[in-house]
């Protein structure tokens, strides 16, 4: 019996060894390495030795302040106004390069708003990172619910008992198997400003009333366009997950609902939706994770532009860590991204815990 136990012990180790070792070596270790690198000033090629710099990298990435600019006044104390009657403000560098306020040194304007005649300027040490962070959060905030909702709609559509419904299911899922790189290139044609397919379709639907838009070339539309494309590519994946959830709901519930005279909406609200609760959690988690990893679309379609309107965390991490060979900077962004993902998955786990 004892030898049998030992035998089991040894077999267990041997069987688990390859997988566990590979995961440790190629996932856990680089992850710990990323945390370590983010505390140094490591660059790929640097004349200076690598030094431990503590949380400096994080401080540089994350420091944000608000400063108030008062309008410029003339000798009489009158506010100077430009031709449109807007007050004129001193240049921001009167603060960021002022020896009296060394804490703002090197910071740049992120955005500003006006309250009365005063201008509130939000300045950040790393404006590009801040834009990447907000874009990534925006992307997740829009894509996760929209994609999950549309996927549910499609799942309900293809869950009908109609002849040939399988064909439609197959078609809706098709973009999922196509590489996101290929999809991104194709959609550059769709979004093209001159003779793009989207502009052609819109202008023919409105009899030429629609003025063509350079979807990826304008900072107002670029991120939204990438969101739409990402939903197009990914929605089939989550449709299938919803579908598997729908098929676990017993048809007897619907029969009972029919007898009670439930409307279609009531059937959805009181039978389908409660039955999909677990699936909903899963779909949201998966979409959120995928959305945070947004990279290939940006790399192929906009490279972060125009005017940093499509910068994302992963794109910045790769551009710095690989493109600019600033290993520690890239790693710091990666760790920030991981912390966000971790917080969200803990939050999701908390919100969906089994209530006992």
């Amino acid at each position: 019996m004892n030898s049998n136990l030992k035998n089991t012990q040894l077999a267990g180790w041997l069987f688990a060894l390859p997988g566990t070792a590979l995961i440790f070596l190629f996932i856990v270790l680089p992850f710990l390495f990323a945390i370590g690198l983010s505390l140094t000033n490591q660059r790929l090629i640097s004349p200076n030795p690598t030094e431990f710099v503590g949380l400096d990298n994080y401080q540089r990435l994350l420091s944000v302040s608000i400063v108030t600019l008062s309008p410029t006044t003339d000798a009489q104390g009158q506010i100077l106004r430009d031709d449109n009657g807007q007050p004129e403000y001193p240049r921001l560098r009167s603060i960021t390069r002022n020896k009296a306020t060394p804490e703002y040194k090197g910071m740049r304007e992120w955005f500003r708003w006006h309250s009365g005649d005063q201008a509130k300027v939000v300045i950040a040490r790393d404006v590009v990172f801040m834009k990447a962070l907000t874009n990534t959060l925006l992307f997740v905030l829009f894509v996760a619910p929209i994609q999950a909702g549309l996927a549910l709609g499609l799942a309900l559509l293809v869950n009908q008992k109609l002849a040939g419904i399988n064909v439609f299911r197959t078609i809706y899922f098709m973009p999922v198997v196509v590489s996101i790189v290929v999809v991104s290139l194709l959609w550059r044609f769709i979004y093209d400003g001159n003779n793009g397919l989207l502009n052609s379709v819109l202008s023919s639907l409105t009899w030429g009333w629609f003025t063509p838009v350079d979807w990826l070339g304008k900072s107002e539309t670029a991120l939204g366009s990438i969101m739409a494309m990402s939903v197009w590519q990914g929605v089939g994946f989550h449709m299938v997950i919803w579908l598997s959830g729908l098929q676990t709901i017993s048809p007897t519930y619907y029969e009972a609902g029919d007898i009670e005279g439930a409307s279609r909406w009531q059937a959805f609200r009181y039978i389908t939706w409660p039955g999909l609760r677990h699936t909903a959690v899963l779909v949201l988690i998966v979409i959120t994770m995928q959305a945070f990893a947004l990279f290939a679309q940006i790399d192929v379609m906009t490279a972060g532009g125009p005017r940093d309107s499509t910068q994302t965390l992963v794109f910045q991490a790769v551009e710095r860590g690989y493109g600019k060979q600033d290993i520690s900077g890239g790693s710091t962004i990666s760790v920030v991204l991981f912390v966000i993902v971790l917080c969200i998955s803990i939050l999701q786990r908390y919100l969906t815990r089994e209530r006992t």
């Binding site: 077999a11 267990g12 180790w13 688990a16 390859p18 997988g19 566990t20 590979l22 995961i23 190629f26 996932i27 856990v28 270790l29 680089p30 992850f31 390495f33 990323a34 690198l37 559509l157 109609l162 439609f168 197959t170 078609i171 809706y172 899922f173 098709m174 973009p175 198997v177 196509v178 590489s179 290929v182 290139l185 194709l186 003779n195 397919l197 052609s200 023919s204 197009w232 299938v240 997950i241 579908l243 598997s244 959830g245 699936t279 899963l282 990893a293 990279f295 790399d299 992963v314 991490a317 790769v318 860590g321 690989y322 290993i327 790693s331 990666s334 760790v335 991204l337 991981f338 993902v341």
Partner: protein, 291 residues
Amino acid sequence: MREFSPSAQLMLGMRYLVLVLIAVIFIFPLLFMAMSSLKPNLQLLTDTESMRAFLPVGELSFDNYEAAFSRAPILTFVFNSLFVTATTVILTLLVCSLTAFSFVFLQWRGREIAFSMIIATMIVPFETIAIPLLLMVSKLPWLGAEGFELGWLNTYRVQIIPWIADGLTVFLFVQYFKGLPHEFIEASRVEGASWWQIYRRVVMPLCGPVIATAAILKFLVMYNQYLWPLIVVQQETYRPVMVGLQYFFQYNTVWGEVMAYLTMITLPVLAFYLFLQKAFIASIASTGVKG
């Protein structure tokens, strides 16, 4: 005979209309790709102004395909992708099923810790470890046919080995193994079969569905690899198809050739999918059981 009343027929017609309109949205970009690959560059660009973009009209030829082949070593790229994908899929199935087998059927010290570590890695996006991993693999040693060497960049192994083991695949096998009747295994154990024999002869033959699931998911990940090969492979001898795209943008981009290349690297996957679509959809659906 309610179905045949005019209003019911109208409803049915409406349902199909909605289904078809949505299908159009999913199909047209892919149709555009395939049609454009047959058109000369100038016509391709003017056709996007009308429905002609989706139709096989005008001057059609395979010239773009010929030009694409002379521009880039496409066969090399395709071979690399297929080789890397196939090797990884096979090794993944072997390694991850062994690990999962050990977690489910064997008792050993440290099992819980190892399992929690593997499950925790599922929430680490690959993108967050790409840079430190790049740094690591550039210094890893290797004992190959030419003796001892340092650094894994520009090889097949750098595209294969880091991807073999992953939390999701282990998890899928663990879930599946838990559903198998344990009496089988105990019976074989009593008969004196070794754990390896049980794995080989008893458990794995029952694993068709989960093997299909894991293989398909891994296939999609591996064939569509982009970021990782982009940063670890600089020599065209080892480049996979997605990175090979760069050749079409280095100088004077000819969109017809780009479309021909995209069609060539996408059609095999689409064909594979259409051929096995039930298995594909079932495999994605089964990842949904983890909730």
